[in-house]
């Protein structure tokens, strides 16, 4: 049975039609063209599909599209301010915190959710907070450094 769902996606009102058993990940990718939402596993293990749902970090592969009714959704596509990259995006580039890049959107969203709650995380806190995101390429070290550096920049800007 197809459903009509209304939600707010990256700040804009959005309407979409989806099947009752369709995941929000599939809706975002296939119906709304938000391909920054990646599918690694489809079972909650890799974090590549991470988004914020009403401000909470979740795996969109474990959310039904129907559940987005009346809620806000944030994806990597909404992170930059026009052409100006978000400090996390900028620092991921500077620290070469990506190789193939499939994990990157998920890491960016998860790191953003972390910094919102804890603007000055320790290395250990970063590693725990990003434990739900897998990267096959980088070995994580550069990702952790990029997040630390972005936190520094963001805290400096906030002062």
């Amino acid at each position: 049975m197809a459903l009509l769902v209304e939600s707010t996606i990256n700040g804009d009102k959005a309407e979409f039609v989806c099947e009752a058993d369709e995941t929000l990940m599939d809706v975002l990718r296939n119906r709304l063209g938000l391909k920054g939402v990646k599918e690694g596993c489809g079972t909650g293990d890799c974090g590549a599909c991470s988004i914020k749902l009403d401000g909470t970090l979740v795996c969109s592969c474990l959310v039904l599209g129907a559940e987005a009714q009346g809620r806000t959704v944030e994806t990597v596509e909404g992170m930059s301010d026009g052409a100006k990259l978000h400090p996390l995006q900028q620092k991921f580039l500077e620290h070469a915190a990506l190789q193939c890049g499939i994990c990157t959107p998920g890491f960016l969203i998860a790191a953003d959710a972390l910094l919102e709650k804890n603007p000055n995380p320790s290395e250990e806190e970063i590693r725990y907070a990003l434990a739900g995101n897998l990267c096959r390429c980088t070995g994580y070290d550069k990702i952790v450094k990029a997040v630390q550096d972005a936190a520094k920049t963001m805290n400096g800007a906030a002062k």
Binding site: T23, G47, C61, L64, G132
Partner: protein
């Protein structure tokens, strides 16, 4: 498949009771969606309980903490009073999955999924928690250990939904703890786990003790003998040895690549001892 999002418990019960075919409750979906994707279940109707107000709150009542079935485990961790009263239950709930999973998963989903390795279940059993079940015949209160009956099976009947979990009021000089063994520190499923809830009397003597083990049998187990083994003691070495023996005796684990029978039995002793020691210090006992 039909997707329903009732606004009240009564509406949910009616939907669950009247719907034909395979009807499933949806809380955080972190088990349900994985099973759907794997092709293990093909629901005809899904009843999302997250729009039901009473299921979205943590309330402190005269009977204790009432935790709504739709409250995510992440929210439990943010509730300072709950964390202070039931640190073992909250640490168990917070061990489930990653931050992404924490944003969605619930202790009731953990319980109703009926995995023998479910992290929050031993902690809830040791806490003497009750599941408040609503169904076509009204409310019934079920001790958490009576919900799972076998891997993937529960005692819930057609039309029933767990509305909330009731944790008894926390008394003076009492506390709890939960520990699990996993090969990795994060994102792994317990090979063995242990929960202990203690109340101390005068001079640090244990008056009441509840012990539960996870992943060592078809369901999480309450180990009465392990509680008895330490009541009346100050958790001295002899008492801890008796507790270890009772834990080992209660185990009936499977043998698999994640842990042999011998290994699981041995770890049940180690974790029983450590969880008891931590609960004892949290309750104000001096070790």
């Amino acid at each position: 498949m039909i997707f329903e999002s009732p606004q009240t418990t009564q509406e949910a019960v009616t939907l669950l009771a009247k719907s034909k075919g395979r009807v499933h409750v949806l809380a955080g979906g972190s088990d349900l969606l994985v099973r759907m994707k794997g092709g293990y279940i093909e629901p005809d109707v899904i009843v999302d309980i997250k729009h039901i107000k009473s299921m979205n709150v943590i309330k402190k009542t005269a009977e204790g903490f009432l935790i709504g079935a739709a409250v995510s485990c992440g929210k439990l961790g943010e509730h300072a009073a709950l964390k202070k009263a039931w640190p073992g239950v909250v640490e168990a709930a917070n061990l489930i999955g990653s931050d992404q999973i924490q944003g969605r998963c619930t202790i009731v989903g953990n319980m109703c999924n009926a995995s023998p390795a479910a992290d929050s279940v031993p902690a809830l059993i040791a806490a003497n928690a009750l599941a408040i079940v609503q169904g076509p015949r009204g409310e019934r209160r079920v001790p958490v250990e009576k919900i799972a009956t076998a891997p993937g099976k529960t005692s819930l009947k057609k039309g029933e939904v767990v509305e909330s979990v009731l944790l008894p009021p926390r008394r003076a000089k009492s506390s709890d703890a939960y520990m699990r063994f996993t090969p990795r520190t994060e994102m792994d499923i317990a090979v063995v786990s242990a929960a202990v809830n203690l109340k101390l009397g005068k001079k640090g003597v244990i008056e009441e003790a509840d012990v539960a083990l996870g992943a060592v049998a078809a369901t999480a187990l309450r180990v009465k003998a392990a509680g008895k083994a330490i009541i009346g003691s100050t958790l001295d070495e002899d008492a801890l040895d008796r507790l270890e023996a009772a834990c080992a005796e209660a185990c009936n684990p499977i043998n698999d690549k994640r842990g042999t029978i011998d290994f699981r039995v041995k770890v049940s002793k180690v974790l029983g001892r450590r969880a008891a020691t931590l609960a004892y210090t949290r309750a104000g006992g001096i070790k």
